[in-house]
Amino acid sequence: MTELRAEVGTLTFRNPLLLASGIWGESGRSLLGAYEAGAGGVVSKSIGTEPRTGYPNPTVEQYGDWGFLNAMGLPNPGIRAYPEEIRVAREGGAPVVGSVFAPTAEEFAELAKAMEPTGVCAVELNLSCPHAKGLGSEIGQDPVLVSEVTRAVRRATKLPVWVKLTPNVADVALLAEAAERAGADAITAINTVRGLAIEPTLRRPVLANGLGGLSGPAIKPIGLACVWQIYERVKIPIVGVGGIRSGRDVIEYLLAGARAVQVGTAVATDTVRVFSRIASELEKEAGALGAERLSDLVGAAHPGPARG
């Protein structure tokens, strides 16, 4: 049986399974629900300066149980209302990572500052939403902007800064390097992959926004490739996300170089009980691989000396 505690920089989680941003993330009670169901920690919905209703429905499309496409449009209650939600989750004992998004470096910095007094253990910069114009992946696709935003947030807060990257780039590790140089404490990879669904009879895209982001098992190979490439080029910890729904999936991410992971879509396909199931699978399967601690596995599929 492997010890499941996971360390991401200076932070320790009871297990490496964090709730991904945007899933069960609007209400503090839901965040807490994921923690009670076994998550090691939770990431908030991405919060902006003002409340946002997001896009009209349809906002999701489903492909069997292996893929979801969504374009929620970053609905969120705004940074003034949200601390109350974080309070609820924190009072229940859940470690909360506060995810934020903004169109400019200054606004990112202000949001991060506003997160500080809420008791979050880190801020995650969503530089990667694939469908919201001017918010997210336009920044995340440009190393200069990634640097700027990361540096501004780094200066504004003492909190650990996690930078969440998009896979919709030629070379994700280049963006990770930019974030690392600008002072990021960790890289989260990946956000959803740009995709589109079309309704033939109606001759129109399914999602009200047209383009959306693909999540679920379909993107696991893509997330693993990104984590792998990032691990080869940066030293800061990596939090892996994308298509995780089993203990084996987590082990693959650890071996590729992640120190912790986030679980999103599986909360819908497998219910929130997915956290405790994955945790017990992980304990058994990591044990069978001879790992005493999860860090024994981190990056272990890479050639060369381990960095565990």
């Binding site: 009209p56 489903q62 929620m72 209302a81 109606l202």
Partner: protein, 262 residues
Amino acid sequence: MSSAGLREVCTVLDRAQETPSTVTLRFEYPREAHPGQFVMVWLPGDDELPMSLSYTGREKGVTVKAMGETSRRILDTNRGAKIGIRGPYGNRFDLSPRRILVVGGGSGTAVLAPAAEEAHARGAAVTFALGATTAREMLFAERLRPIATALHLATDDGSAGHHGYVTAVADRLLAEAAFDVVWTCGPEVMMRKVLAAGDRASVPVFGSVERQMKCSLGLCDACALGPYHVCIDGPVFPGHVLQGLEEFGRSKRDPSGRLVPV
């Protein structure tokens, strides 16, 4: 075989004006559904809204009340129009009780009607207390009369049945006769009163609840209600659960996730 989604485009087979503000659309949607469950109705180019199934057989139906922009547009939908349907989602009414009191308020009766019909078909005795603002807005009274052990109406303006709230009728019925269960759907203030009445009579109540919905898959949190998600844990909840929820009857989340008064 195909990697297509779970959404189907259905043709509106029939449109029935139930009341001045309420319309039923019928369509063929082959998946099995149970009374209490809802579907997501997509009006292309507009929006997609959760709607309880008011008919759960092969030819399914939704009964829509004009509220905001999208529901109004759904009302304007004509026979032959194409709408997207996905689902059914959510849980269902337990149809096993033998003596059932159905307390419907306004368009809330939409979800109660197929449950009552199916329970009646299985031999239950169903008593109805249906409320509306005025006689012309009374939903499904004629549909339900043939299966009713008793059918009691109430209107805010006294234009039909009891002059006043339907909850007063329910209170009286619960005092007078024995029921195994109460089913209710309507405005939350109304449902709160029905829950209290059930408590007084020691009869369990089940209420169908509405909240903002986006994914209806337990993913996005739009429908959060305390520790529950209405799309997967509901929409039907036991009364004691609803009573334990600070938010029920008081606040709900708007599309941005902010808590606002119901």
